[in-house]
């Protein structure tokens, strides 16, 4: 590496040696080789501030708050077009000749349509519900619903037609797919424990099923992806099965778990030798059409004797509504739509930052399209892709999703600081790492509790909001776009969302 290859550090780490008590925790905790502890001089030394990713591990663990991290004070000459971000990207690619790999969701600033929406409340003409004292139903079911229920009376006994398999969720919120491998063992286990206690689901990604996680199988959405890692009859015995066609962060892309992350644990769970790349091809090679998809769905239904809902996960892309319609016709029981801001363990930056459409537009479009075709009842719609708060969840439900899906929010609950180094596997917080020692940095009980708290508080928020709208069950609220109003700058967006502009009056006798 020539000196000209050097780019200036992104962050500057400073340790105030006056307040530092020389405990050395910062050096022990840093996984990016930024801080070293100099034993001869008995003090911590910042040896390579260029490696710092601002994950705050050292700063949080410093008992005297002696560490500060700031943007590196060597400025790039200001330029409106050639931002530092672009200049750094060009330099890195000129140096390596490689594709830039990155983690988590896109860090580019795109308008978030959630922030352009407001919701309605009851005033005078209809009473609101006091959610603290009156019941509001937040339970929902995942699976295909019949068009109508046929109830017959036979000798005084009532008999119901056989209905499709459905999975009860205590709240319309699940944790989306993250595999063991992209997430540490402790992180994975904490999420499973949390969804088990809350009564909802967690997608375990294409990582196989670890024997320790078998007791949680009633809370697992098992993924059938293009690599088919760990797919066997025992694995299919889960709460729900999901065929992964695409994920929001990298639509059309498969996955590569690089060989250095395939440790003993991952090897045993996925059923591949240690140190080999775990490659998931971009397409599933038995699915080249809707008919092929129908075949795989039928195969999974057969293999599980029609007792488990089988769904399909797609990324939100231009034709998402028509594709979703095809998936319903292929007999899926649920569809997961993942918006373009969704996170990932690793994706080429160029794909992550530029591919797909926002989940708000995608889900509104899918919901309307399926409703118009008269097939909306046949599937449960799950929507994800950077739901940052309970308000995003509530808005996505109003736009037509039955269930919201979180990923990054769950990681933040477990300590993630969104430094976007999931790709490197060096996560100092023990979340996105395969290192068995660093993975233990997550305290299982603590992380489980934090996740349960997150679920409970979002569910309470949902209760509150349904209450002020005077709606007593979340299933009555799904797709209720009339309770939303648009305050953003772009009328075209509102039209696609099928949401009226704020201040619009309801015109008697139609529009």
């Amino acid at each position: 590496m020539k000196i000209q290859d050097k780019v200036m550090p992104r962050f500057k780490v400073e340790i105030d040696l006056d307040t530092c008590n020389k405990c050395g925790r910062c050096a022990v905790n840093c996984t990016f080789d930024v801080i070293d502890f100099n034993r001869s001089e008995d003090k911590p030394v910042v040896t390579n501030t260029g490696n710092c990713v601002a994950c705050q591990r050292c700063a949080v663990f410093c008992p005297t708050d002696a560490i500060t991290i700031q943007e590196y004070p060597v400025v790039y000459a200001p330029h409106g077009t050639w931002t530092p971000w672009h200049r750094r990207g060009v330099c890195e690619q000129a140096r390596t000749g490689a594709v830039l790999l990155t983690g988590l969701g896109t860090d580019r600033i795109y308008p978030t349509i959630f922030d352009s929406l407001l919701w309605d409340a009851c005033q005078v003409t209809n009473p609101s519900i006091d959610a603290l004292r009156e019941p509001v139903e937040t339970r929902t079911f995942l699976g295909r619903k019949p068009k109508k229920l046929n109830i017959r009376e036979i000798n005084g006994e009532f008999e119901l037609d056989e209905i499709y398999p459905n999975k009860l969720l205590s709240t319309p919120l699940i944790i989306g797919h993250m595999s063991l491998g992209s997430i540490s063992y402790n992180g994975h286990t904490a999420m499973l424990r949390a969804v088990n206690q809350v009564g909802t689901l967690f997608g375990t990604g294409e990582g196989g099923l670890h024997p320790d996680h078998a007791p949680f199988r009633n809370n697992i959405i098992a993924e059938i992806a293009s690599g088919r890692f760990g797919v066997c009859p025992d694995y299919l015995n889960a709460a729900a099965l999901e065929i992964k066609i695409g994920q929001g962060a990298k639509p059309g892309h498969g996955g590569q778990l690089p060989g250095e992350k395939v440790t003993q644990l991952i090897s045993d769970t996925r059923g591949i030798p240690i140190g080999t790349d775990a490659l998931s091809p971009n397409p599933q090679h038995d699915i080249y059409s809707i008919e092929d998809l129908k075949t795989l769905i039928a195969a999974l239904h057969e293999a599980t004797e029609y007792k488990v809902p089988v769904g399909v996960k797609i990324a939100a892309v231009n034709n998402v509504a028509a594709i979703a319609s095809g998936i319903v016709h292929a007999d899926a029981d649920f569809i997961t739509v993942d918006g373009f801001r969704a996170g990932t363990g690793a994706a080429p930056r160029v794909v992550r930052d530029n591919t797909g459409i926002p989940i708000e537009l995608a889900i509104a479009s899918v919901d309307q399209h399926l409703t118009n075709e008269g097939i909306r009842h046949k599937v449960t719609l799950i929507a994800g892709g950077s739901l940052r708060s309970s308000s995003d969840l509530i808005k996505i439900l109003a736009l037509g999703a039955d269930v919201g899906m979180i990923g990054t929010a769950a990681l933040i609950a477990m300590g993630c600081k969104v430094c976007q180094q999931c790709t490197t596997g060096k996560c100092a917080w023990g979340i996105a790492t395969g290192d068995p020692i660093i993975g233990q940095r997550i305290d299982l009980d603590w992380a489980t509790n934090r996740l349960i708290n997150l679920f409970n508080s979002w569910t309470s928020d949902l209760d509150e909001v349904l209450g002020i709208m005077g709606i007593d069950a979340v299933e009555s609220f799904v797709g209720n776009r009339d309770r939303l109003r648009y305050i953003g700058p772009n009328p075209a967006e509102a039209k696609i969302l099928d949401v009226k502009h704020a201040g619009s009056r309801i015109e008697v006798g139609g529009e």
Partner: protein, 281 residues
Amino acid sequence: MTTKKRKITINAEPEGWPMDYRELNKKIRKAIRDGYTHLILQNVKGQRFIGAGIKEPVTIEIFGDAGLDLGVFSEGITAIVHGCSEYLLGNTLNAGELIVYGDSWDVTGMGARGGRIFVMGNGGSRIGIHMKEFKDKKPVIVYGGTVKQYCGEYMAGGMIVVLGLDFGDAIADRKKPVEREDIDPNKVKDIIDEKIVQSDLCGGIHGGTVYIRGDVPDHSLGVYAIKDEFTQEDKEILAPIIERFCELFNVPVDLIWKKKFTKITPVSSRPFGKVYTYTPI
């Protein structure tokens, strides 16, 4: 506890037309639950998903042609098809043995994680795509005839063998379901005027081995695949599999070894390792 009963025969065409696959598979599962270990399916006409996700070590003998996804996700069944099998034979197979006295077309053994597949005749595209191996689980696919493009694509482990044999004259009556005794060992001969494999052989392979009986031109190889020397060690690995094939399809073992094998292996187990850079920017 049910006692182990042996054989049961299920007619897949009881009323003059082919039974729906759901009904047939229901009957199969019921028979297995009732303790039968040898199921004979008569008059099968392309019913799909036979043996899907079954992990009991039962034998399913199929007279007629099996449909899509025979043995999909299964773990330990023996399926014998006296006829042909459609696409996706042994899709994501975990263990067991699938034997076809006929052809089996595209994507055989896709993503297989174990088990063995023996096909007497020819295959289509993408045979053994993304097969993988782990510890003692090494999937094996053997084709007696020829296969088409993308054989062994993305392969991560296991073994594919293509023998290039012509059973054309060896079977007197093609119209009835073929059994071992119907094959005349003296009339099995080598295919000469047809390619045994076609283009993009083992594209993106990063584990496992492919043995082709005969020469493979360099331009047929896909990315990251190379030809390797066929050694005595390879012969020893291959011998029990060839013996099993010859036993199943009544072929003289000597005939197989008369022609030289070409061995194809991956360039590395990390073909895409250098494509990406991880440096945070």
